[in-house]
């Protein structure tokens, strides 16, 4: 009678045993393969020590960097690629350009380009990542196509960053930007960061986005992207967005606009300090202290009595930053202002 459940349990145990045995076998196989590959890479790197010394010595030379002499085995090429990618990631400018040219010369770009068409998703993503490091301009369109397949997945950011690094034209950058905005409308700061990794100046693109006044997300991304820049062409559109119906846009526009505080008439700054949005009042008052603007101290004093904590906080901070001129009696009496102290 009891044998029946006994048999059932035995079946379950067999299944569990097989699963775990198979899993551990796969684990050790993977580790062995990786260990072997790592060892061969190490040996290859050691073998080409002189070549890496040559690269280091000639990275700032006038002549193009030459590939290593002789025929390279696939594992040697892989090892050299890993070292070159590591270097490219840590340097910029002309040196990086020389190393990426060497990668092309070595056929690494073509090799990764083929992997971009692999049926395995993980291989495609890795290839995209490496092409981005190598700034493979000729692969930008393929990367953009791959990006379109990624949709809303997290890997879209890996492909997107690579496409941005490879982009040669503003058209490509625009396509990338609009795609990321469509599928990841909330990742505005990350998108701005990805676009900033391009060697192209994205400012004209952002100014173009600002014309899409009816679409909130592109405008927000443009405003984020323009914050911290100093492009006079952006000043006009930014000024216009202060009166946008969308609060988020108004605030972002104010933050971006205050980067151009030297171009802002005092009356305009005064408008921002008295704006109905407390966020705008706060950033405007903060800018006075940060940029040491010659502005009416009384407005900051009024800010000390603002109903919003952040406005009071930045009023006090700006008064302090303005030095002796910013120390009217009230700045010493913050405790009277309802919790600033």
């Amino acid at each position: 009678m009891w044998m029946e459940p006994f048999d059932q349990a035995a079946t379950v145990l067999y299944a569990l045993s097989l699963t775990s045995a198979g899993g551990f076998a796969a684990l050790f196989l993977l580790r062995a393969r990786r260990g072997d590959a790592d060892e061969r890479t190490r040996q290859s790197l050691e073998k080409h020590q002189d070549y890496f010394a040559y690269l280091s010595a000639n990275i700032d030379g006038a002549e193009p960097l030459l590939p290593p002499p002789g025929q390279l085995s696939p594992i040697e090429l892989k090892a050299i690629q890993s070292k070159l990618l590591e270097w490219i990631e840590t340097i910029g400018g002309e040196y990086r350009g020389r190393l990426t040219a060497l990668c092309r010369e070595l056929g690494l770009v073509e090799q990764e380009r083929k992997r971009l068409r692999s049926p395995k998703h993980a291989v495609r993503i890795e290839a995209a990542y490496r092409l981005g490091i190598m700034r493979a301009e000729q692969c930008t369109d393929e990367l953009l196509q791959l990006l379109e397949q990624e949709g809303g997945e997290s890997t879209a950011f890996v492909v997107g960053r690579s496409a941005a690094k490879c982009a040669e034209t503003l058209d490509q950058l625009r396509r990338l930007l609009l795609h990321l905005i469509e599928y990841h409308p909330d990742a505005q700061q990350l998108i701005a960061d990805i676009i900033a990794s391009s060697s192209l100046d994205p400012a004209p693109l952002y100014i173009e986005l600002l014309r899409m006044e009816d679409r909130e997300t592109p405008v927000c991304v443009a405003l984020i992207g323009l914050t911290g820049r100093n492009d006079p062409d952006a000043f006009g559109p930014l000024n216009r967005f202060i009166s946008s119906e969308c609060k988020e846009i108004r605030i972002k526009a104010a933050k971006a606009l205050l980067q151009y505080s030297h171009m802002l008439p005092m009356e305009r700054l005064g408008d921002l300090i008295r704006h109905s949005d407390w966020e705008i009042r706060a950033v405007a008052i903060k800018a006075i202290g940060e940029w040491q603007l010659d502005f009416d101290i009384e407005a900051l004093n009024e800010g000390m009595a603002d109903e919003e904590w952040w406005v009071r906080h930045y009023s006090a901070a700006s008064l302090a930053q303005l030095g002796p001129a910013g120390y009217p009696d009230r700045a010493f009496d913050l405790s009277a202002e309802g919790g600033t102290r």
Partner: protein, 503 residues
């Protein structure tokens, strides 16, 4: 009687196997999202992002109670994170040792205006705020003792940035751990309201200059067992739950939160024994009540190292405390059970926690006892007892294997082969004693909860380099720091890093 014992034992076996299958089911249904997370992590380098002006600033909250031996090294360690803009808010929760004094002396801190302190969430009174312009990132808050939740609330009140990271004062972060968490947040800042890091056991590893230089498995059996447990829980469990948006815990050792939502839910709940689960449950409830889109996400490649208790007494106290915390929260949020609007939380995650936390220890112990009784009545039936033990063992092995495979495939595990073999050995041994012990602790935790016993047991400060544990204080809950048994020690000597081999 014999039939009853047998049937009960078999039912218990199936329930144990069932709990394992449940995890496999979760992994299966969420594998696509899981793979996407892993692939994205593997093919991302964070050096660029760590210098980006678009990364939102973070306030790192470090609640501290009697952390004198470790606090300086940990603050030094936090000061060298690869991250663009952040502040470190150390909250001294009324320590009875020299925690505050060593901070003041080392960083030459001076009392200053609590310029950014606001009363956003309830916390006990602040005594003073200390800063030094030479260390602009560091703020030290001195407050009355109120427990970990209260200290975290004070930290929220003092934080000036929109994101807050919570870190235990005795944990070590990888240099890029914070930027990895924030990158996950940046992928969807509107919805990713909380992001949890991956907590690993540092016992046995080589520590230098506040970093884990070479991860190794501890030579002591107890931390080694816990290493296996952590790998299973974080890589085997949390990735899957995260993909289903069913995470109930963001580890107190390392997590990232949107401050505005922490404030909206009223912050951490004073007196709650499991504040890390409590805050996540409150966030789930808040968002689901309002039908707002959100996710609580696990980031497996943001690694935080912690030291595991290495005595049975300390470990037992920790597990009893954890169980009390889980029960407290399950009881508090029982209204979410099987209500459609609470989705995965109400229908799967919470019921699973109840079964796993409350019934599982009972099933394990009573199932074993029933079968032992059955075999005692008829010694020829010994195989049935072995089947029970084997089922326990194999389910654990499948878990361990799956977790190690994820680690190997996604993160190119740096653990040595010798240690890997030991992990497999420990995984097998867990079913033969450790699991039963763990179940006993859970039952004792349940008993504590029913008796409303809030004692935290002996908390021990442990040096990273010292083997000898120094008992510091035995405390009662409520007003005590609610934390795992402590460790720590000098990781550096002044400016010269000391490379120490633990154990």
């Amino acid at each position: 009687m014999r039939t009853f014992l047998l049937d009960y034992g078999i039912a218990a076996t199936y329930l144990i196997v069932g709990s394992g299958l449940m995890y496999l089911f979760i992994l299966a249904v969420s594998h696509q999202r899981m793979l996407s997370i892993v692939k994205s992590s593997v093919n991302s380098r964070y050096r660029e992002l760590a210098g980006s002006e678009y990364v939102p600033p973070v306030s790192i909250l470090v609640p501290s109670f009697n952390e004198e031996p470790t606090i300086i090294e940990n603050v030094h360690s936090l000061m060298t994170l690869e991250f663009p803009v952040y502040e470190i808010v150390v909250v001294n929760d009324g320590s009875t040792d020299r925690t505050l004094q060593v901070l003041l002396d080392t960083f030459e801190l001076q009392p200053c205006s609590p310029a950014s302190f606001r009363s956003l969430v309830p916390s006990k009174a602040i005594r003073n705020v200390y800063r030094n312009p030479l260390y602009p990132r560091l703020v030290v808050i001195d407050k009355e003792n109120g427990g970990k939740a209260d200290a975290l609330n004070a930290g929220i009140n003092a934080a000036q940035y929109p994101l807050v990271a919570t870190i235990d004062a005795d944990s070590l972060l990888e240099k890029d751990a914070l930027i990895r968490l924030v990158k996950v947040y940046m992928e969807n800042p509107q919805q990713h309201i909380a992001v949890g890091g991956n907590v690993r056991i540092a016992n046995g590893s080589t520590i230098g200059d506040g970093r884990v230089l070479s991860p190794k498995l501890s030579n002591k059996w107890l931390p080694a067992m816990q290493y296996v447990e952590y790998v299973r829980a974080f890589l085997g469990g949390r990735i899957g739950w995260s993909a289903m948006n069913g995470l109930l815990i963001v580890s107190g050792a390392f997590g990232l939160f949107r401050k505005d939502y922490l404030v909206k839910v009223g912050g951490y709940e004073a007196g709650c024994p499991g504040e890390d689960m409590n805050i996540v449950m409150k966030l789930h409830k808040y968002m689901l009540d309002r039908n707002l889109p959100y996710r609580v996400v696990f980031c497996p490649d943001a690694v935080c190292w912690t030291q595991a208790p290495d005595t049975l007494r300390m470990l037992g106290a920790q597990r009893r405390r954890w169980l009390r915390g889980s029960l407290w929260n399950v009881s508090r949020f029982r209204g979410m059970l099987f209500i459609p609007k609470y989705k995965v939380i109400g229908w799967l995650a919470l019921p699973y926690t109840i079964i796993y936390e409350i019934f599982s220890p009972w099933i394990r112990i009573s199932g074993l006892a029933a079968l032992v009784g059955y075999v005692l009545l008829d010694m020829t039936q010994l195989p049935i007892l072995l089947i029970f033990l084997l089922a326990n063992l194999l389910v654990g092995m499948v878990f361990t294997c799956g977790s190690l495979l994820i680690e190997e495939l996604a993160f190119r595990s740096s653990i040595r082969t010798n240690d890997l073999l030991r992990i497999i050995g420990f995984s097998a041994m867990m079913a033969l004693g450790y699991d039963q012990l763990s179940a006993c602790w859970k039952l004792l935790g349940l008993w504590d909860y029913l008796r409303r016993n809030d004692a935290w047991g002996n908390m021990v400060r442990r040096s990273w380099q010292d083997e000898a544990a120094i008992p510091v204080v035995s405390v009662k809950a409520r007003v005590s720091r609610t934390k795992t048994p402590q460790r720590t020690g000098r990781l550096t000597d002044g400016h010269n890093p000391i490379y120490i081999e633990m154990e």
